[in-house]
Amino acid sequence: MIKKILLILGTLLMLSSLTGCLKTINLSDRAIVQAIGIDYDEDKYKLSIQIFSPEGSGGQTAIDTSKQNSKVITTEGKTIGEAMSKADLKQGKKIFYGHNRLIILGESSAKKGLENVISFFNTDAQSKSDVGMLVVKGDANEILNAKITQGILPAETIEKIVRNAEDTGQSFQVRFYDVAKNYKSTTNSVSIPVIKLEDAEDNSGEKKEEESASSEKSEGDSKVISMDGISVFLDGRLKTYIDQENTRAIQILLQKFKSSVVVSESDSIGTSSVEIFKSQIKINPRIKNGDMSVDIIVKTDGIVKEIVVPEDREVPVFEYKDIEDSLEDVIKDEIDNVLYLTLKENNIDIFNFMDRIKQKYPSYWKDNRDDIGNIISNLGYNVKIDVNIDRTGLQIKDK
């Protein structure tokens, strides 16, 4: 009896492996996608997909990092899903984007709207929620086709550059779930970093800079990526760009700040650069005379990097108060500038002040929640910075 049962079970098991009820796709038959660039042109979505395709040198598993181990495919379709399905036709492997690292939105698709992008990547099971998102002032195609010869893949290099930028206060990483979360938040505003393409230094040591990637570029030259500010979306559409100089303030206000070097220059104390780290920010909404305003208090610590004191100045030793004041002014200016740009000029709240108002003054919120734009434009702000230099480095300030 047992033998018969086992026989039947064994047959079923063997049958199942033969008929392939679960499709086994060999790794060699999968095209591993590393970055997806999305453009929108003439009512069609144009996708540029960067695939890992190794150009090994000799040994079986050796991946040559000096060569371009990637290939770019372009497809187009009315929706992103349709374009994706056509990508299998351009080369012999099945597209697999479970390992996708980056989604790069071209300016055209950013202006068209985030709705399609979010909907496709959210619904699909293969794509993971922690994909990095970036915006480019031009066509995403150019970035992906650029010859970036550092690391195994260009997409990997781009991701690392953005991460380094986050560590030094020049940008921050935005992941897909951040975008999807903020897209449905009360203020419905999303901020995504912007990158641009630059020519690498040639052998003579001169550096050629280009403002935008869509202008002439020399074929065959290797390129580098650099950060180019933040793009701000409202209601899913691209509203405006914010310059690279204001990125640090945005990072502080978004509480993603890690560390950054701030330079303060003044006649009295010369030039000094201090690395600021460990920032704690408190944002408190407050109603005064019926007007809503926000108190922003930032506390940071500082490490002195260098101090250059002018020749003819008497300066006390271990007295950094004046440097601290000067730094505080610098940072306060930056933050004020950003708040003005976002709140007053563009009427967007990318720092989620609305959630704090909702928590602290629910009745006020309930009365005014139909007209968020009004609240934002009338929002006052008071910024107070406190820098505390506690590490002086190995040299003390001395005449």
């Binding site: 993971k128 992941r175 928590q359 919120w365 309930k366």
Partner: protein, 372 residues
Amino acid sequence: MFAKISGAQLFTMLYISRVFSSLTYNIHTGSKLDGLAILIGSLISLFVQILIVIPIFKLYDRIKNGNIITAGYNCFGKNGIIIAWIYAIYAILVGINTIVQAMFFLDNAVYTNANSSILVLMFIGLVLYGAVSGVESISRVSAIFGVFFVVAFLFIFTGLLSSVDMYNLSPIFDSPIKQIGVSIFDNLGRNTELVAFILLYPYTKGNKKKTFMSYLILSTITIQIIVFLITTVLANYSGSLVFPFYTLTTISYTSIFQRLDSLHMALWIVLAFIKATMYVFIAYSCISISLPKVKKGYIFSVIFIAISISVYWIQSSLDAIRYLQGFINSGFIVLILVFILPFIIYIVYIFKKENSVDKKNIVNTGYSIDAI
């Protein structure tokens, strides 16, 4: 005759099955409730649940060596078979619901292009193998597995702590009392483990009150943590996700272990298996008490066929999945099965015993309890 598993093992079984049902559904499906409402509601429903089980504890204090079903036989004579079959059908339905939910997750999140019939068949076969081995085996597996689950859960939790944003927990603006009331009732409905506890009560040795209280408290804490994480980390994004906890595991970052969603998927199959097996075993025990002469193999074959056909039929239509889920998780059914029915039986039991109408009937049910 009955006592086979220890209180701690029963606790792990109930805990695992309760947590499983909260890991798979979206907290916002059904009625759109705010996160804070669900948190407060589940806390209050803890006390409601304690109140509901008072009649059943009193009933079991009187019966020395029996089940609620044998008590039903005592009170109502031959008509007690209806009670047995009500519980059995409910247990089978919960088992079917679990299997359907498990397959739904697999089909949508993992194997999107696969023919799911063989997966379903394997799962049902495994559940029946577990149920045939008896309640001791299931309880031991769940005890071993419970430890892994708690460790994994703590892992995921610590990885998510850095992404928690307390400002997402906004106060409730629209009709807070109504939302909290709905949430209490909802939570009660999702707690099908109360029925499982009633029917597994006589199998347990040890202090059952302690087991029950620790189960309630720990499961409430776990549910609170899960809802808290979903609300604070994902905010309104979770409303658009079918499996928010699965997305949470992709976001969770510890420095070395990045792909925690694989951990989630692997654990999760075993969780589904333990829950489904427990309910199938409960169904089998109810049926075998009501039909003591029928052999074990026959009962299990019938259960197997019933489950397979139902799962195939329900899985093919999304409407059917939704209806089944709504039916199982409605608070009314739990209220009837856990509170009203035992209450009636308790009253009739006291009445009969006080009147000493049929002393013979009360002492010896005449039905073999040792069918297992």
